[in-house]
């Protein structure tokens, strides 16, 4: 076919096998290289940085290379006594995104006792609005991402009862578009990252039945480009993190076999940096912990046996989800 597509071409000398030791070294020393100006400004999202790195290490069974005690102490110090929320770093304001990251990290360490759990529950439930949506912080930005943060955080704490789950689901469903996808707010364009958040919310709340599963899954499959990579919206370039969001959504929909797995695996492997370790968004770009996690998690969903099984809803090791006795819903075709 001669249709012009925005895509990349995989070069012949790309990495074709998984370089686990390289990735572990990369994450263990991440940020120590003073020349990494690329990452000089990440204080404001440090909590998420810890979640990306730790989860990636967990999936590679290399957790011991992370400074566990320091991390737990740091998280404790980031909780705001007044609101109960957790911030990205010391001195910052609490936010739903970082509250979730902190709870995910502590859940993996089985150390949820290190924070005031009631405070977190109070904070998250205070963010729910009349229409069921959630604010991201006290300044009132609404986004389906925050709905997902809320239900994920509370379910990890076994405290979903603290919010109005039906209303939360109704709001997410009000963001469903004519193409079966979801955006950030009612009427916002469908976007693979936000589809993941919305499908994830429904998976946790056991309401996957409300989806137009075939239509949505087809839209998600359409994200696969000839290179094997997936984009996040029509006519955008492929990106490794979108590969995760699309694949995880398809896994919850029980339709991940609809994508061309071999092609996709080739794309993900090509995003590795064979020299420094780590994964990047596209082959040849600079790696970072965010894309490194989603590269490994994506390979796990594709069944790569040298990586631990990842749970598609939580983006955490399946063993953690099992230990917490959580059973996020997967559609039965």
């Amino acid at each position: 076919m001669s249709f012009k597509t925005k895509d990349v071409v995989l070069s012949a000398d790309r990495p074709k096998s998984l370089l686990i030791p390289k990735h572990a070294d990369y994450l263990a020393s991440y940020g120590l290289n003073k020349d990494d100006f690329e990452y000089c400004m990440t204080e404001y999202l440090r909590m998420s940085g810890i979640y990306w790195s730790l989860t990636a290490m967990e999936l590679m069974d290399q957790t011991s290379r992370m400074p566990k005690d320091d991390i737990i102490q740091f998280i404790t110090s980031c909780q705001d006594n007044e609101s109960g929320g957790i911030s990205a770093s010391n001195g910052h304001d609490p936010h739903m995104l970082y509250t979730l990251s902190a709870v995910q990290v502590l859940a993996m360490y089985d150390r949820l006792d290190a924070i005031d759990v009631d405070g977190v529950v109070r904070y998250v439930s205070s963010m729910q609005q009349e229409d069921g949506s959630f604010y991201g912080d006290k300044w009132g930005e609404v986004d389906t991402r925050f709905s997902f943060c809320a239900v994920m955080t509370l379910s990890l704490l076994h405290r979903l009862d603290a919010i109005n789950v039906n209303k939360a689901v109704d709001f997410v469903l009000s963001c469903m578009n004519f193409d079966g996808g979801f955006g950030s707010k009612p009427g916002s364009e469908s976007h693979a990252g936000l589809i993941y958040c919305c499908v994830g919310t429904l998976s946790i709340c056991n309401r996957m039945d409300a989806l137009k599963a075939d239509e949505l899954a087809w839209w998600l499959c359409e994200r696969q480009l000839p290179s094997g990579g997936l984009n996040g919206r029509p006519e955008k370039l492929p990106d490794l993190c979108y590969s995760w969001w699309v694949m995880a959504s398809l896994s919850m929909l029980n339709r991940i076999h609809w994508v061309d797995k071999d092609n996709l695996e080739q794309y993900i492997l090509a995003c590795q940096d064979a020299e420094s370790g780590g994964f990047s968004d596209r082959p040849g770009d600079i790696p970072d912990p965010f894309h490194t996690l989603f590269g490994l998690a994506g390979l796990s969903l594709l069944g790569n046996s040298s990586i631990k099984r990842v749970n598609p809803t939580y983006c955490m090791p399946q063993e953690t989800i099992d230990r917490l006795r959580l059973e996020p819903q997967i559609l039965l075709i």
């Binding site: 249709f3 020393s29 991440y30 940020g31 290289n33 020349d35 100006f37 990452y39 000089c40 400004m41 204080e43 404001y44 440090r46 940085g49 810890i50 790195s53 992370m66 400074p67 320091d70 991390i71 102490q73 740091f74 990205a88 770093s89 010391n90 001195g91 910052h92 304001d93 936010h95 912080d137 300044w139 009132g140 930005e141 578009n177 004519f178 193409d179 955006g183 950030s184 707010k185 009427g187 916002s188 364009e189 469908s190 976007h191 899954a217 087809w218 839209w219 499959c221 359409e222 696969q224 919206r233 029509p234 006519e235 955008k236 339709r255 076999h257 609809w258 994508v259 061309d260 092609n263």
Partner: protein, 326 residues
């Protein structure tokens, strides 16, 4: 993103400024090592050491407001800086019009940043004045027609203040520029859903418009999706609109094999079967043929999906008996 290595001439470090000598800078608490040790430029470190100090002392002053500007310039994505800036604006009673101009200039530099657009929204809410929002977002969208933040802000302003009148013309101009712009198609739907409504006449008008665009570029996922979206509001469904059916059949006769055309005909077949309206054009046997053609020839990468659909039509065929073989 601003470069943290810039040493612009004339820059004076906060630690060397006499009017800041009363403040003790607060260095970054690095948290756990080594995951998070971060290389900072000297300027970045200096500004943020003083920002942390101001934050810790809860200092509400003009110089603090200026300091947040420097902090934003170094990292517009730092949400705490913006939050503190809003606290300062409130406490100092700053002229919000000039703040509107300021944030506009930051949006120009960082149009893909959550925090700047959020700050903008809060200001417009405080002022209850949306008169610049369409122009501002238009400018951002001309630069990047798929900028999600700009679209979100535009939709928010339109919905909150009822600014729908001229939107279809704007969407038209974007689609003339790039007929594959999915964001523009989505916006078109947004306007009809929230403003124009889906009267029969409007539905027909939108169908004609979309078919024209498909005639122009046939393999256009966004336009075909929009067509389905419009047909949700046509009670005759995907198979019952004569204009759409003859358009598709003509494309097919003229050897167009765009996967989106074939997929549309397949869905029309399913609609027909479900409503007991299967005929020579829309039936299970044809759908199976098309699915197989997609799986083996026209869209091999999604072979598994087409096989799944094909199986579904096999079931229809055996359940109901298909008396419309072509």
């Amino acid at each position: 993103m601003s470069d943290c290595d810039d040493n612009d001439a004339g820059w004076i470090f906060y630690k060397d400024r006499p009017d800041w000598s009363d403040v003790k800078p607060v260095p970054e608490d690095d948290g756990p090592t080594p995951v998070v040790v971060i290389a900072h430029s000297e300027k970045f470190e200096d500004v943020y050491d003083y920002f942390r100090a101001v934050l810790q002392n809860d200092e509400k002053s003009e110089r603090a407001l200026e300091l947040t500007k420097d902090a934003v310039e170094l990292n517009a994505a730092n949400y705490t800086v913006w939050q503190y800036r809003r606290e300062l604006l409130k406490a100092l009673g700053t002229d919000l019009r000039s703040e509107l101009d300021y944030v506009e200039s930051v949006i120009r530099l960082s149009p893909k940043n959550y925090q700047v657009w959020h700050h903008r929204r809060v200001l417009v809410e405080w002022l209850q004045d949306p008169s610049h929002e369409l122009d501002l977002t238009e400018e951002a969208l001309l630069q990047d027609p798929k900028n999600y933040h700009a679209w979100q802000h535009r939709q928010w302003a339109m919905k909150t203040f009822g600014l729908y009148d001229t939107e279809i013309e704007f969407v038209d101009s974007l689609l003339t520029e790039d007929v594959r712009n999915n964001s523009a198609w989505n916006q078109r739907y947004f306007v009809h859903n929230n403003y124009t409504g889906w009267s029969d006449i409007n539905v027909q008008k939108e169908i004609s418009y979309t078919l024209e665009k498909i005639k122009f570029v046939k393999n256009n996922e966004s336009a075909w999706n929009y067509l389905r979206g419009v047909l949700i509001h046509d009670k005759r469904g995907l198979n019952g609109n004569g204009l759409v059916t003859s358009f598709c059949e003509e494309l097919y006769r003229n050897r167009c094999r765009s996967p989106f055309l074939l997929a549309f005909i397949i869905d029309a077949c399913e609609d027909a079967i479900k409503k007991n309206e299967a005929d020579g054009c829309h039936n299970a046997i044809r759908a199976i043929e098309l699915c197989d053609a997609l799986a083996t020839k026209y869209d091999k990468i999604r072979e598994k999906y087409w096989k799944y659909l094909s199986n579904r039509f096999q079931k229809y065929k055996s359940e109901n008996g298909d008396n419309h073989s072509v």
